[in-house]
């Protein structure tokens, strides 16, 4: 029951991200997803609360719910860029694409042979949808910052599939992945900051040509 409710929150926050125009709001949505994932980690482990899932949940909420939003909003403030998303695909169409993708994920996951029954029948479709939504944000938005957000959402989806299918993933693996994402977001945050200082914008569309290459 709790797992299902949290998963619906995950799906709705991804849809909300597709329809939001403010960058600060997008960052908050991704932070909320981090908190939901932390709670999901606890909800999936039914057999009593041991130390490991608790530790993992705290790490996830700390990194995805607090640290990343802090870094990204710092980049946003330091960059003084326009605080709008500037999508290639309008918000309405993005939302409709999101709903269609969700339908596709439900259809697809009903046909997917799984090695073992997942914790909840919602977990595979919604995790798959979150991954696709992250991918869609990466390709359909102009700003480098939204691409980082899309990458984070994509990673959230992969993590949700992981805990849904194999509740007992070795903790070392989970923490390793978390560390990778942590480093990646920091590097991307710093990169965006420097791109912004160099070019006065973080428009990924205009970074198509390398300066040395064209010279």
């Amino acid at each position: 029951m709790w797992t299902d409710t949290l998963l619906v929150f995950l799906a709705l926050s991804s849809l909300l991200l597709l329809g939001s125009s403010r960058l600060t709001r997008c960052i908050r949505i991704v932070a909320f997803q981090g908190v939901v994932l932390g709670a999901l980690t606890l909800a999936v482990h039914r057999d009593g609360l041991s130390v490991r899932p608790l530790l993992l949940a705290v790490a996830i909420v700390g990194i995805k719910g607090v640290a990343f939003p802090w870094v990204l909003s710092r980049v946003l403030r330091a960059g003084e860029v326009r605080r709008e998303v500037e999508p290639f695909i309008s918000y309405n169409v993005s939302l409709v694409v999101g709903a269609l993708t969700l339908g596709l994920s439900f259809w697809w996951s009903a046909r997917l042979p799984l090695p073992m029954p997942p914790v909840s029948s919602l977990i595979v479709p919604i995790a798959f949808f979150t991954t696709l939504a992250g991918l869609f944000v990466i390709v359909s938005r102009r700003k480098a910052l939204t691409q980082v957000l899309g990458y984070l959402v994509l990673e959230n989806g992969i993590y949700a599939i992981g805990i849904g299918l194999v509740a007992e993933t070795p903790m070392v693996v989970e923490l390793g992945v978390l560390l990778d994402v942590f480093v990646a977001v920091f590097v991307m945050g710093i990169a965006i900051f420097h791109i912004n200082r160099e070019f006065d914008h973080i428009d990924a569309d205009r970074l198509a040509v390398l300066r040395d290459w064209s010279a």
């Binding site: 619906v8 799906a11 709705l12 409709v96 999101g98 969700l102």
Partner: protein, 302 residues
Amino acid sequence: MAVVSFLPPLLALAGAPLLLGVINRTKAVVAGRIGQPLLQVYFDLAKLLRKGAVYSRTTTWIFRAAPCVGLAAMLSAATLVPLGGGAAPVAFAGDLVLFAYLLGVSRVFTVLAALDTGSSFEGMGASREVTFSALAEPALLLALAALARQTGSLSLSAMYARIGVGWTTAAPAFALLAGALLLVFLTENSRIPIDDPTTHLELTMIHEVMVLDHGGPDLACILYGSALKLWLLGALLVGILVPIRSGSAGLDVAAAVGGLLTLAMLIGLIESSMARLRLTRVPQFLVGAGVMSAVALLLTLR
């Protein structure tokens, strides 16, 4: 057919204008005013019925027929909507589609009458009304489809009799449905944040601008029809949110009416605390409602 099944439409006929009064009173209290009496809409209706109507030479029979057709559609719809778990007087498989399109008939005639006046402002209002309702209709139908799927029935009365079971098995889907229906409710009844029913600026009006040329008994029909629409869509929403089935029909209906009055107060609070959306943002709001309904349907389909 049980006598008690005539209770929902009779309550709707009697109580619908009261909801508007409650909304106005809530807004007044929040704004620190005393506000108009709770029964003001009844006084307005009585006043309008005593007056004569003026018709422009530009208008045709459509302009005169529209208020009657709109009210007749709402009266027919009132016989379909159950209240508090009991059955409505008219119930058959598929009446949810009839309900959705009775709302549509009333809207089409309001729009035609607005175009019939030849006024450019009313044309603008008509265009907006049609645009927004075209987006609100999928949200309503998808929400009703999800409800039908979840309760395994195609009749509004049977669907609403089984709501309570649904909450225990599919709570997330029901919460989404209620959210989507609330957005549809705000749109269809032209409340803030979609439309401002008290605005006096033609440029920004949607529903109100279309009825500017109606007067007297025609305006009374329109006012009463929109109050009924508020009550009926509210009853659909409250039926989901207050699934109290105590066993005694009277108690259930009383709970539902209490829910409707609470909903009216909630609308008053929403209107006091929110600004209107920019017109370009309204479609996004409605697409959001449609997507919520679609997600609810997907959750019930699996």
